[in-house]
Symmetry: C2
Subunit: 314 residues, 2 copies
């Protein structure tokens, strides 16, 4: 048995960086480290694993203190769940990589719990951020993709395969642009960073990234602002549908695009209030995510600390 005050080892695996932290029971990050994800074409599955394992070993040595109570992980999808054979879209070296099994071998006897990275962000926001104390919340990430996690009746919703919360594929325009999923008019097809960037470049905006676009919108660039209105309207429609279906109290939005502030949130609110008209749905509030870069690590730790709320699997 881990002692009651033992920390959790939290890991966040994305296409840009591998991050890890020793997280205390209250959610405070005691020790943190990260390295760029080694994503060069010659990288193989074992090489990437060794990079991660070395970072974890160094981190735990630095932390000292009691043995962790468990290991919580957020990882880019898709993955099988809960056994977490992972195939992150942006990490070609791992295809069907048995992440949960490998971590169990490395940390024998400890619970190892892996979930989608967007779901861990939503859990983080629910446990210690914008959704604290609310029982019905959607935590969204609007970035290279559009993802999220659902907490309903006070518990994380996994769905049939661990994919619940994936608001990016709510259809907001049946005649809209093709989506990477093979469908059409999904929220993600319109509001994801690269989608907005492509649209803005077609209209003459000279930048390259979603974060640049948000920044230029704040500085008054008219095309960048129009792109944010476009994203805001799509987000407002999807949130109206999700709120009607799930009777949400609060929706948090994180990710690079959300840094556009009012330029995104004002058209979002206007659209939401136009379409979310049932009495119960009018009460929903949409807020920027409260936690920063470490939200995913905090959420991953909660898979262990707050299993009753956030972990429904074995």
């Amino acid at each position: 048995m881990a002692d009651a005050g033992a920390p959790v080892l939290a890991i966040d695996i994305g296409g840009t960086k591998l991050a890890a932290a020793v997280v205390e029971p209250g959610g405070r990050i005691a020790v943190y480290d990260r390295v760029p994800t080694p994503n060069n074409p010659s990288m193989d599955a074992e090489g990437l694993w060794r990079t991660l394992a070395a970072m974890l070993e160094k981190l735990l040595a630095e932390a000292g203190g009691p043995r962790p109570a468990g290991v919580g992980v957020g990882c880019g999808g898709p993955m099988t769940w809960p056994d977490a054979r992972v195939s992150p879209l942006n990490i070609p070296a791992w295809r069907d990589f048995p992440l949960r099994d490998r971590l169990r071998e490395t940390f024998p006897g400890l619970p190892v719990r892996v979930h989608n990275d967007a779901i861990c962000l939503a859990i983080g926001e629910h446990w210690r951020g914008a959704g604290r104390g609310r029982d019905n919340m959607l935590g969204m990430v609007v970035s290279t993709g559009v993802g999220g996690g659902l907490i309903l009746n006070g518990h994380l919703i996994d769905g049939a395969s661990g994919n619940a919360g994936h608001i990016g594929h709510i259809i907001v325009d049946p005649d809209g642009p093709p989506c990477g999923c093979g469908g059409r008019g999904c929220l993600e097809a319109i509001a994801r960073g690269p989608g907005l960037v492509n649209w803005a470049r077609e209209q003459g905006w000279p930048g390259a990234t979603g974060v640049d676009l948000a920044s230029d919108a704040r500085r008054g660039h008219p095309v960048a602002q129009a792109a944010m209105r476009r994203a805001g309207r799509a987000l407002g429609l999807a949130i109206a549908s999700a709120t009607h279906l799930c009777d949400l109290e609060v929706v948090s939005i994180g990710g690079g695009i959300s840094q556009a502030g009012a330029l995104l949130f004002e058209p979002l609110e206007e659209t939401l209030r136009t379409y979310a008209r049932m009495d119960y749905a009018r009460k929903v509030s949409v807020v920027p995510a409260a936690l920063g870069q470490t939200a995913g690590l905090v959420g991953a730790a909660a898979l262990v600390f707050e299993a009753e709320r956030y972990w429904s699997a074995d």
Copy 2:
């Protein structure tokens, strides 16, 4: 304490009829009765209550046997939840009527649990119908309105105010017709019976009701068939969005319109398969509701028999 084999008194309150049954622990209906809802303009709240109370008294006398373990009720919305002050759209005599309190006074010491009628239908289908044994299901009713109930991670989802599952207000066409909710392009605005009937009459169909429309569609009336295609497409879009968001395994559809059979389900499936393209969403199955007229009573009984799964309130 009620004994383990005690039945439940189940009640279904709608604009057309008041129904009640004594339901056995396995879900079998032992005794059943119904009366037309006394909805004449002179009917007042107490008169309607007396009609209901008299029917319940007669039913229990007829049933004999052990005292019920509790009372489960499905009632047309809206209502406050879980205290169930009800204002059913189609029962003008009851506005903010304290249904739960009145039933508690009538049956002192017994648990009394009231939920939306569409949610009770979904529970019935999950417990003993099309969703049996599945953990992630949406049970829909397509009738005068379009409603539903959500079971996720094996539990009924209530949401912030007991309104979760209300798929009727997912937006399927942002530029679509105005909806009774004040919004636009909601599934309900397009697919509810009166909406389809109005649309078909504008195209020259001479009938009057949704059930007639379904029946004429089966007999080959081209406008009636076109109306069913229109409903099927709207349903397919909404179900695609709900499946992506909630990672559903099964969706059941009941209500008068669903009697159109393949004429409704084929365009629904075609649209669903066009838009629900994420791997996990392709697995969803959409099926007609398996239980008949008594599904709502079976579901209402489950609020008591299977409280761990279906009743999250006090």
